[in-house]
Chain length 374, copies 2
């Protein structure tokens, strides 16, 4: 544990949609003063889930009250099931009932589900309100709270409904991770590793050396989160709406989403970061099979992920993932499909990922058949 | 009736979101060829309502088939009631079931309800798809299909959920207005008159002289629609997201929306354009009362609207509009309220409207009390 210091600031430069990410311990307690300074006269709706509310809502409410800010609170059920039209409609109704106006702000206090839901709500109420991300999971702090992707799930797949809507501020209190169960901390860590694998081998090596301190909550935790946010911000800056290079952030995600679908998004069986961990190993193995990368890199990635306790094999998923046909259907319904060809993130080695748009379904099928048979 | 000619083209200049409005008779029959030329390789979902489907869906489908385009059709119930989360979710499900990808397009074939719903759907499916407006009502052709406002209603009011999402093309077939019932044609005409009242007195005088030909379907109809679209495009170009001058397009709408709310959006009692007609007269009367304009202008506006058969008085609304308190509540929940003050569109006379942001609730209340007592 470290003494409170000034937060680390990571700017996200997006012209008139630019904003800052503040990262530090115990930021929630000072959130009210920060908001009052940045958004004079605004009112707020804090949206969170029951689990997060239990740990952090009082702290945030106390800080808003102390700063004399007007607000309402909306608490929804925890879990991926809340990324639905039904919960969206409930939140919209709550925000409108509180008579928030277009200049007011929503606050997303929670993990990725809350961030996605609240960002989407903010994007569509009164044709666009501002919102603040206050991510309380590692996954949300290093990934989903940055970049403006918002949305809900449908029976056809994950995140198929949503929009790009940038927050006006991200406030990542790293102390909230102390209340996170270890499995979810590990799952978020998979996305941290991803930034090293994409284009920063030195960061991956640093993670291999420092992961214990990151998990324990030492200064390396803030460093790892800030480095991840900087990496994501750099990609989002040049490709806000995923027309090209932003797709790199999907390293491991095409396979990962297919596994999540196969598990019906049941967090008992698989959470997002675990799917991504297995997916990243597979992306390296698939690249090796296509003679693009050395199999040694795939092994090194798997070894590091296993060292922190993450799954690395399809067989690590309890209950299995169905047939190759099931997985292929998921992959082809995924939104990264373009005109029947697959956009896949492949790699030439650790830190050398690239967007491939010429992967054929046959190549994917043959690879998955071998993996499932193994 | 005129012989078919090349469509009139009105450009809407919005940087990378620019598009064209094509206006002419019998354009639906050639829509397939037009789309094939503009969007090579794309597939389509045609979304329409039962009433419009009966008159125009076969024509459009025939034209898509002739051009060898892939498409699916989704038909919803007619009427304002379809601007709901429920119908939105049905359309989203239909679009995803048809496996449309991000590069494909939705087609909104219908009036304002269909245009708002489909534009919103396009804005949120896969975080943004393209769409084409094919407006079949005069209201939609001169107003709602241009400018990118999309949305649905909630129990808190009209259009409180939605977003700005520009179409990729607007194709206005003026022959579709021949199947419109006269009352809806008149209602759309109110929005045409609005463009004259905002900043073009000469256009208003031309309308006084040519309204009969516009209603009969002569060449003046295309002229009036093109002039309206040009006027709206000019405003949208300088203020796409209604930060300022675009609010001028709300002339008559703050009162109008309150009346629509009072009538529970029941089209038997009041349709949007009728509310706007009465609202425009009131905006002129209210301006005269504030010594901003001559009462003669209010009388001249009322006379022209009455000449085409539009209502011009609150007492023209069957069943009444409730109490002043009811109306005030509607007006204050309206999204044009800023920090408790009313943004109102007032006028110095015909063709001289302006955005006033200093109207007090007391002024509005006193005016409405006098009108309801009259």
């Amino acid at each position: 544990m470290t003494a409170p210091t000034a937060p680390t600031v990571v700017p996200v430069a997006l012209a008139d949609r630019s904003y800052e990410i503040l990262i530090g311990r115990d930021l929630l307690a000072g959130a009210g003063a920060e908001l009052a300074r940045r958004f004079p006269g605004a009112r707020y709706a804090v949206i969170t889930d029951e689990t997060v509310a239990e740990h952090h809502l009082d702290t945030l409410i106390g800080s808003l009250t102390e700063a004399d800010l007007g607000f309402t609170s909306i608490v929804v059920s925890p879990g991926e099931g809340s990324k639905s039209f039904e919960t969206l409609e409930d939140i919209v109704d709550g925000v409108l009932s509180a008579r928030l106006e277009r200049g007011d702000l929503l606050i997303a206090l929670g993990g990725g589900v809350i961030g996605d839901l609240v960002g989407f709500t903010a994007g569509i109420v009164r044709r666009g309100m501002r919102f603040v991300q206050m991510p309380t999971s590692l996954l949300a702090q290093v990934d989903s709270s940055v970049g403006g992707k918002t949305g809900i799930n449908t029976r056809h797949g994950k995140n198929l409904v949503g929009l790009f809507h940038q927050p006006s501020l991200v406030l990542a209190d790293t102390a909230t991770l102390d209340t996170l169960d270890p499995r979810h901390l590990r799952a978020g860590y998979a996305e941290v590793v991803k930034y090293g694998l994409i284009d920063d081998a030195a960061f991956f090596h640093w993670l291999e050396a420092n992961h214990a301190e990151i998990f324990a909550g030492g200064p390396a935790r803030i460093g790892a989160i800030a480095a991840s946010c900087r990496a994501k911000a750099a990609v989002v800056r040049v490709d806000e709406k995923e027309a090209g290079v932003r797709a790199l952030l999907n390293l491991g995600h095409t396979f990962g989403h297919a596994f999540e679908t196969a598990c019906d998004y049941d967090p008992e069986r698989l959470v997002h970061g675990e799917g991504v961990a297995i997916g990243m190993v597979l992306a390296h193995e698939f690249s090796a099979r296509l003679n693009l990368a050395s199999p040694d890199d795939a092994a090194r990635v798997a070894a590091h992920l296993a060292a922190v306790g993450l799954p690395t094999e399809i067989s690590d998923i309890p209950g299995g993932v169905g047939t190759v046909d099931d997985l292929m259907r998921s992959i082809f319904q995924d939104k990264k499909v373009k005109r029947g060809r697959l956009t896949f993130i492949l790699t030439h080695g650790i830190g050398e990922a690239f967007v491939a748009d010429d992967v054929t379904p046959d190549q994917v099928r043959a690879f998955l058949e071998d993996k499932l048979a193994a």
